[in-house]
C-alpha cells in the first residue's frame, strides 16, 4: 500500500454508516451530529456476532433442506416436496433454466454465503493481508446477493394462495419453508454484522 493510506480511525475520526458524514472523536460511543445514528469506529463485537449468526444459520440450513416446503394434495393423493425435489421436478420436465434459478437461489447462494463469511471471519482473525481488495469485493457481493434466496419463500406463498381447488388440487406450506426463511434472514443479519473495515486493519498496523 502507498504511504498515503491514512484511515479515519488513525485520526480519531468516524464515518457515519447511515449518512456518511465524517465525525470527530466518536470512539465506540457517540451520535452522528447530522443524522443521529450511533457511531462506531468499528461495528461492535463484529466478529463474535457474525460467528454466532453464521453458526445459527448452518444449524437451520439442515431442516430447511430436509423438511418439505410444500404439501400438494391432488385427487386425494398427497405429495410433499423439499427444495431439492422442486429442482429435480423442473429438471425432469426439461426446464433447465428454471431448475438453475431455483438451485442457485435456494441451495447454492445460502451455502456459498456461509462459506464466504466463514472464510472472511477466519482471514480477519488471522490478521491476513492477502488480497484485501478481492476479499472486500467478495464481501460486497455476498451482501448484495443474499436477498434473492427469498424467492422460494415467495413461490410457496403464491402457490398456497392460488392452488385452492378443493379436492381437485390444494397446496399447503411445510415447516421447511419456515426454516428456510429463517436461514435467509439470519444470513442477511450475519453479512450486515460483519465489518469489512476489519479486512483492512492489518494494513495500518504495518506503519506503526
Amino acid at each position: 500500500m502507498s504511504e498515503a493510506a491514512v484511515t479515519a480511525k488513525d485520526l480519531g475520526l468516524t464515518g457515519c454508516h447511515d449518512c456518511g458524514v465524517l465525525c470527530r472523536g466518536a470512539g465506540q460511543h457517540g451520535e452522528c451530529p447530522r443524522c443521529g445514528a450511533s457511531l462506531h469506529e468499528r461495528k461492535p463485537d463484529s466478529i463474535r456476532r457474525t460467528w454466532a449468526l453464521v453458526i445459527a444459520a448452518c444449524i437451520f440450513y439442515l431442516p430447511a433442506n430436509l423438511l418439505p416446503i410444500t404439501h400438494t394434495t391432488s385427487l386425494g393423493h398427497t405429495q410433499s416436496d423439499t427444495i431439492m425435489s422442486g429442482v429435480l421436478y423442473f429438471i425432469s420436465h426439461g426446464d433447465w433454466p428454471l431448475a438453475l434459478v431455483i438451485f442457485t437461489a435456494s441451495v447454492a447462494v445460502p451455502l456459498l454465503k456461509l462459506i464466504v463469511l466463514v472464510f472472511l471471519l477466519v482471514s480477519v482473525q488471522r490478521r491476513s493481508r492477502w488480497r484485501n481488495r478481492d476479499r472486500t469485493v467478495l464481501y460486497r457481493f455476498t451482501e448484495a446477493v443474499g436477498r434473492w434466496s427469498m424467492v422460494d419463500v415467495f413461490v410457496v406463498t403464491i402457490l398456497v394462495a392460488l392452488v385452492k381447488l378443493g379436492a381437485l388440487a390444494n397446496i399447503e406450506a411445510g415447516l421447511g419453508a419456515v426454516y428456510f426463511a429463517l436461514v435467509v434472514i439470519i444470513t442477511i443479519f450475519a453479512a450486515e454484522s460483519f465489518d469489512p473495515r476489519l479486512i483492512w486493519d492489518p494494513e495500518e498496523n504495518q506503519h506503526e
Partner: protein, 211 residues
Amino acid sequence: MAGNKRNDETMPPTLYACHECDLLNRIPPLAADQTARCTRCNAVLYRNPSECLERTLALALAALALYLVAVNFPFLSFGRGANVVQTSLLTGVADLYRQGLVLLAVVVLVTSVIAPAMVITCYLYLLVPVKHGRVPAHVRGAYRLLRAITPWNMIEVFLLGILVALVKLAGMAEVIPGIAVWSFAGLIVTLAWAAGTFEPEVYWHEVESCQ
C-alpha cells in the same frame, strides 16, 4: 426555489471515510452525474445525480399510485371453467397465517407489503417539505428509518417468485394476471429507480441549506 438550486450543481470537495475500508478520501468537487469512489477498495462513496431530489420525489409519487393499485386490485387468478380462485397480494399471507405458519406470514408481509409502503412514505415525508424549503420534523429519525427498512423491501424477488410459480402451475390450469401484477412490476422499476437517484449526501446538503 430551493428545489431548483441543485440542478447540475457541482458538489463541494469533502473528506470522506470509506465505509468498507475506512480510508480517508479527499474528494474533489463532483460535477453532475459523477461518482466518487474509494481509491483503495473502489467502493462507491457517493454520487451527484443531476436533479437528484426532484427525480426521487417524482418517482416516489408514481410508486405511491402503483402501490395502491397493486394492493387493492386483483393480483392473480387461477383455475379452470367455473372453478376459479382470484387472489390479491395479501391472500398468500392470510393463508400462511391460517395454516399456522405465523412467522412465515410475517416475513412475507414485511418484505412484500409493509417495507415498500414504508420506503415510499419515508421518501415523501423527507422530500416534500424540503421541496418547499422546510425541514421535516424528526428528519433524522425518518432518514434512519428509510435506511433501516430499505434492505427488507424485496418486491423484485417476489416478482421472480411469481414467474417461477407461473411456470410450475402452467400444466395444471390457466393463470390470469390481474392489473395489480402489472402495477407491482411498475412499482419495482420506480422504487429501484428512486433508490438509484436518491443520494444522502445531496439530501443532507439540501437540509442544511434549508435550516
